[in-house]
Symmetry: C2
Subunit: 342 residues, 2 copies
Amino acid sequence: MSNKRTEISELGEFGLIDHLNSQVRIKNTSTIKGIGDDAAVIEAGDHVKVVTTDLLLEGVHFDLSYAPLTHVGFKAVAVNVSDVAAMNAIPKQITVSIALSNRFSVEAVDALYEGINAACEHYGVDLVGGDTTASRGGLIISVTAIGEAKKEQLSYRSGAKVNDILCVTGDLGAALVGLQILEREKQVYLANPDMKPDLEKYTVVTSRQLKPDARMDIIHELRDLGVVPTSMMDVSDGLASEIFHICKASQVGATIYEDKLPIDKQTFDTAVELNLDPITCVLNGGEDYELLFTIDQKDFAKLEKHPDIHFIGHITKPEEGKYLVTKSGTAVQLKAQGWKHF
Amino acid sequence: MSNKRTEISELGEFGLIDHLNSQVRIKNTSTIKGIGDDAAVIEAGDHVKVVTTDLLLEGVHFDLSYAPLTHVGFKAVAVNVSDVAAMNAIPKQITVSIALSNRFSVEAVDALYEGINAACEHYGVDLVGGDTTASRGGLIISVTAIGEAKKEQLSYRSGAKVNDILCVTGDLGAALVGLQILEREKQVYLANPDMKPDLEKYTVVTSRQLKPDARMDIIHELRDLGVVPTSMMDVSDGLASEIFHICKASQVGATIYEDKLPIDKQTFDTAVELNLDPITCVLNGGEDYELLFTIDQKDFAKLEKHPDIHFIGHITKPEEGKYLVTKSGTAVQLKAQGWKHF
């Protein structure tokens, strides 16, 4: 090692990942897709396996002062299932590794696994392995999910074509707004432990933050309707950031329309209460775990009436850039300001 | 959650794992084997995939005051490859997730990945995914490895039969003795930072601790010789503990012979220097990552002359128990004292 010291913050999370990935070389013919999508793709005889993994740390990804352990367990599974969904695959197996300090009792571990097992039940996945170890710090959870698909059913980030329709499921921004509420109530509680946090009017946004649901329902419906998205990813870092990823991987541009962006009423009202711009929450809020995908125009009629799929824009030529058309009709350049961990 | 608080130490690591696993229910037909072996087994068309995962924490599994980051990266891959080998499968893909604090520079991350990439090259596996995040504490590494085998080639822990021969590769106890030396020199250094650690005469044992090699060479040789072990696992917790696992899973007993146990001369001499009983190091030292397996007697002739496979005993009926026959001819009951993390 040389004596030069470069801070990770100089590269940023995505820069560091790009830097590390540039050194990776694929050797096995069974590796169909390595790093660079929501999940890796591996040959498996008559079908393919997709593999994805997430590492969740107390104090970085969850705060046990307001996140119940059962929800943390559920979410740890759900975020990985969401990455499998984003490949248009069906999750089948997960492994869960945990590191615990002696702060945690067996009852606490049971609460965590109650959530993990509930998520396994909900998504139809089998918990097939893992590792359990001591931690000197907080709780650490590492989940790997494995899913299945026929090769021709997969949706990569790289398949979007000019004139495809950009679709997003559910509504966006709720998880970010929920996090702000939970953080605010935590500060209130820390300042005065006799104060009871008043969370009743915020259940939509807080539960989206604490216990998001991967959109496997949409994946199954798309199959039933015979629609294979031309590209797809899940919205974990924020809509704008994900659109950038799809545009980069597919070498296309995109235009989206402010008046088409889905936002829940409670999310909107709470954002305003918190002095946050609701549209900024929709564009840059992370952790919604909705699906962002593109479809060929020929498939539009099949999805047109779906109550939970929103058509927010379309794919353009790469030189046309990435734009948001505001309600007033002005086209403003999209900026990708996803969640930064570094 | 009730108000009862049970300490994890009351159950122990294996007790906690058993407790959690008792709640797991397998739902998918593609899950051939879930928790309970060195790796899970998943149906994959004409073959099967094996999946294993390990979570490694700074301060628990490695100490950066003496473990170079390149070695830590190599070892993180090797220990997972070893679990794939223990199923008699060939590793093909890995995912690597890391959590880093700002203590780590880009150059430090590069050193870690130099080791990870070197191990990928050495074992012929592809790095296909992972997660990179910030940590508030030390370095965390989570690796998942995926391997391939034909279903009939797999060696489970549960296949040992009465009269099978117990085999072990390489030599044992070195990694534990190496750890003791590294810890001793660390204390010397901490007491007097001007003292240069004197590690030159201990390279065998220290390099076994710092950069163990998974025995894929043996797996390939067994294939070439047409030998499928009736049961197998890798020696990560200690020989005695692993024999207990095989006996429990296979519902058999075992007798091993002290004079057949393989120990390297430097390991022996260093153990004596450290006032450790060399045989105790062989029986209970962890992290050697050698392979322990059983073969049918008909296969003995094929392996008899192998320089690195040792025939340490045989499988008996369950009611005959688990015994070590000492050099003096006394049979003493084996005790499983594997490494305890809790």
